[in-house]
Each structure stands twice: as structure tokens, then as C-alpha cells.
């Protein structure tokens, strides 16, 4: 859905995405690969650094008013931690920031994450274009809500 419509939606203010690893996970190579790919795709990229708590991730996302939070974990704790982020967002009534997941996520966990609104959940070897298209699609939903044109 990287179509003309989302191109004009983001023409003036690019997609703003926060990359975060909200847990004890030092595998940050993927973060740098994604940060560069997102920037080269024309996005404004923030990185929450290593070991932020889910609360800190949401504070940053709200203060920066990002379109998408990109959660990444390679440590196997995604079900617990991603859910915590999604729950906190829900509790705060935030429905105009999208959450996309990724890392080492077994196929059997993906539907569980989708059910709580965390989409994508891409792992090693996913073409960057697939990831960028998905982020763009979710960002378009979020931005439209922010601007009240959803």
C-alpha cells in the first residue's frame, strides 16, 4: 500500500517511527539495519536505546507522537513484553500509534500478537521492502487518525 495516497499523506511530515527493544536483549544489530533502512526510505527514525522499560517506550512514543512503535526482541520474551506494551497503550487510551513487531518470533506466536494489534512480526531473512511496506501501511492508519481523517 505504498501508493500515491500515503505518499501525499507523508509528503510534508515523514513517517515517524520509534525502534525499541523493551527487555533484556542486547541483539542490536537488527536495530541498526532497520534504522538505516527506514531512514533511507524517507522516515524519521528514533531509537530508544538498550533496555528501556515498556513505560519508557510509551512515554517516548507519546512525547514524540510517533506513528509507529517497532518492537524487536530476539530473546524469546516477546509474548510477555509486547503484550505489556500493548496493554499499557490500551489503558492510556492511545489508538493512534500503531505497534509492529519483529525478531525471533515463532509462527505459532504470530496470531496471538496479531490479536492484540501487534502486526508484522517479521523475523530474520524478511526482505526489507516487505517490512517497509508494512510499516508504511500501519503508519498511514495511525497518521490518518491523528489528523482526524480516518
Amino acid at each position: 500500500m505504498v501508493d500515491g495516497k500515503s505518499q501525499s499523506l507523508f509528503k510534508d511530515k515523514p513517517i515517524k517511527v520509534l525502534l525499541a527493544k523493551p527487555g533484556i536483549d542486547g541483539h542490536d544489530r537488527g536495530m541498526f539495519v532497520l534504522a538505516k533502512a527506514f531512514r533511507d526510505a524517507g522516515m524519521d527514525v528514533l531509537y530508544a536505546g538498550l533496555l528501556p522499560t515498556p513505560e519508557e517506550v510509551i512515554d517516548t512514543a507519546v512525547n514524540e507522537d510517533v506513528d509507529v512503535i517497532a518492537l524487536s526482541l530476539l530473546n524469546g520474551a516477546h509474548l510477555v513484553v509486547f503484550r505489556k506494551v500493548a496493554d499499557l497503550m490500551k489503558k492510556k487510551g492511545i489508538d493512534d500509534i500503531a505497534i509492529v513487531g519483529g525478531g525471533t518470533i515463532p509462527d505459532s506466536d504470530k496470531p496471538k500478537l496479531e490479536k492484540i494489534g501487534i502486526t508484522g512480526n517479521y523475523g530474520p531473512g524478511t526482505p526489507l521492502k516487505t517490512i517497509i511496506d508494512h510499516i508504511t501501511e500501519r503508519a498511514a492508519e495511525a497518521r490518518s487518525r491523528k489528523l482526524g481523517i480516518a
Binding site: 531512514r39 487518525r145 491523528k146 489528523l147 482526524g148
Partner: protein, 318 residues
């Protein structure tokens, strides 16, 4: 979901972070130009209370690190502090890595300080406009001190700094010969000089160099102080705060300053009006120009045509 301009403005006045954040998005995005403006019109009367400090200087000298430390210190002194940091974006892809936040993240998390990153995308006028609006929003929200980080190069950056009451220029040892050129460009706008990385070789020489140049430059009643910082050891920050606060009080007494700021604000708004009207011109609306076909045939130069249009666009009565 998006609320109405009035609701957001009320949220800003109440200091609600989500309203503040959303309002900044709406003034950044030209898709929401109308509501963004409504918000600013609504809150403008409540602005003018905050002390606005611009921190500028070349990349890598330690501006973000300083701002993190400084805001924690100010917060400990009971001030409400907010930060805006402008990152350079790639002119090729328009994308950017908003890296300033990383450097101050520890302070932000620990002390609950509001910080917002802006990227210098697209039109240069757009960035200074949205930065000014973001500052107004934070001002109306009741922050006492608003700190703005820029790299201080290029017209958009200088325009942003036009709204600061106090400008601190940061330099550090190790900039090489480049320091002379940078110094020359930033010398005129500095109210306070900071030499950061005093732990590094050459720091005292850099400091002496600035002091010597200042001694040779004619100054007004405000004597520009030169502050040395070691941001790893948190040394020099009390002197820095004293210097910034002294200049904020100095600037507050200067009524001419207020007038020129207001003029600057109106001029920026006017430029935006003109820009949007000019951007809305199209080939088909251009055909409204008298004798377009003849002008093309006779090769009338574009300046003459533009003068004609500018009369009708900017001053429809003439």
C-alpha cells in the same frame, strides 16, 4: 482520535502532555494546517512567559549531552523544563535519524522531562515555522524554560534561533582549523560561549582563543561570558546556569528586543501566507495572467511577470 482545536488548546493550558504532543504534530504537518493555526491562535495570548534558550554549534561538540545535564539541573532547582531538538535530515531521501534524544535519554527518563525531536525536512521555512509553533505550545503549557538545540548552520537554523531570548554557542577542542570559520559565523549571535569537553587536550587553548577574540570585538552592555564544561564529570554547570539566567534577565529588560521578536513572528507568518498562495498557483491559474500567450511569444522575462503576479497576489487591491 483527534479532538477539536479548542479541546487541544485547553489541554495545552492544563499542561497535558498528550495534548501538547498532538498539537506539535498538527503544526508540523501541513495536512493539518488549519487546525494547527486555530490552536496557535487560541493559545497565543498565554505565551511569552517562558525563557527560551537556543543551544547551537557544530555536530559532535556535545550540545545534546549538555542539554540533558542542564535540564536535570534546572529541574532540580524547581524549574519546569522542556526541550526541542532539531536534527538534520538527508536532503536525498528526506529521512533522518533523530539521534539527539539518545544522548539525553537517561536524563529524560530519570527526571520525566518533555523532549521533542523535529527533523529539518523539505522546505526550510517549514522547519522554522513549526519550531516556533512548538515553542509557543510549550510556552502556553507553562514550561519556565524551553531549550532548543540546532546545528546553527543554514538560514532555517538561524531563523529558529531568532526566537530565543538567549543563545549559547557550544564549541569543543578538536574542531581543527574549521573552528575559525565556525567561530566567525556564530560569534555575532552568541550571548554565552560554552567550551565543552574541558577534559580534552587543547580545551584551555580553545577557551583562551575565544576569550581573546571577544576582547577584540566591540560588545554592548552585555559582556559575553565563556564557560568551560566537562560534561562527563558534570563540571561547570553552576556557572552555565548562572550565565544563562543572567542573560535571560538582561534580555527581559530590553523592550526593543520584544518589538523585533514580534516583527520577526509576523514576518514569518506573512511569508507563509505568501508561500502558500504562490504554491497554489498552477499552470491553469497562470493563464489568468493577462496575455500569457503573448508573453510567451514575446519572451517577456520571468522577473517582470513575477512582479506583475506578486502585485496581484500580495495586494489584490492594486
Amino acid at each position: 482520535m483527534m479532538k477539536k482545536a479548542d479541546d487541544i488548546a485547553n489541554g495545552i493550558r492544563a499542561g497535558d502532555l498528550r495534548s501538547i504532543s498532538r498539537a506539535i504534530t498538527l503544526v508540523e504537518d501541513l495536512n493539518s494546517l488549519t487546525i494547527g493555526r486555530e490552536i496557535i491562535k487560541n493559545i497565543y495570548a498565554g505565551t511569552g512567559k517562558a525563557g527560551i534558550v537556543g543551544i547551537t554549534g557544530p555536530p559532535g561538540v556535545g550540545k545534546s549531552t549538555i542539554i540533558g545535564n542542564l535540564s536535570s539541573k534546572l529541574k532540580a532547582k524547581g524549574k519546569k523544563v522542556a526541550i526541542i531538538a532539531v536534527d538534520a535530515s538527508s536532503p536525498f531521501t528526506n529521512g533522518s535519524f533523530l539521534g539527539n534524544r539518545i544522548r539525553m535519554q537517561g536524563n529524560l527518563y530519570r527526571d520525566g522531562i518533555y523532549m521533542r525531536s523535529l527533523s529539518s525536512r523539505g522546505s526550510s521555512g517549514g522547519l522554522s515555522r513549526s519550531t516556533w509553533d512548538a515553542v509557543r505550545i510549550l510556552d502556553a503549557a507553562g514550561f519556565d524554560r524551553i531549550i532548543v538545540e540546532t546545528v546553527g548552520a543554514g538560514q532555517a537554523d538561524l531563523d529558529i534561533l531568532g526566537m530565543a531570548h538567549t543563545i549559547a554557542v557550544v564549541l569543543a577542542p578538536g574542531l581543527g582549523d574549521g573552528i575559525q570559520a565556525i567561530k566567525a559565523g556564530l560569534m555575532e549571535i552568541a550571548n554565552v560561549f560554552i567550551i565543552n569537553k574541558m577534559d580534552r587536550d587543547g580545551a584551555f587553548i580553545a577557551m583562551k582563543d575565544i576569550e581573546d577574540s571577544l576582547a577584540l570585538t566591540p560588545q554592548n552592555e552585555w559582556k559575553i561570558p565563556v564557560i568551560g564544561l566537562d560534561s562527563m564529570k558534570m563540571e561547570g554547570y553552576d556557572d552555565l546556569i548562572a550565565a544563562l539566567e543572567a542573560h535571560l534577565s538582561f534580555a527581559a529588560k530590553d523592550k526593543g528586543n520584544e518589538k523585533s521578536r514580534f516583527f520577526h513572528e509576523v514576518k514569518a507568518a506573512l511569508l507563509m501566507e505568501a508561500e502558500s498562495r504562490i504554491n497554489s498557483l498552477t499552470v491553469s491559474s497562470m493563464s489568468g495572467i493577462t496575455d500569457l500567450d503573448r508573453k510567451i511569444r514575446d519572451k517577456v522575462n520571468p522577473y517582470t511577470v513575477a512582479e506583475e503576479i506578486s502585485r496581484s497576489v500580495l495586494d489584490p487591491s492594486s
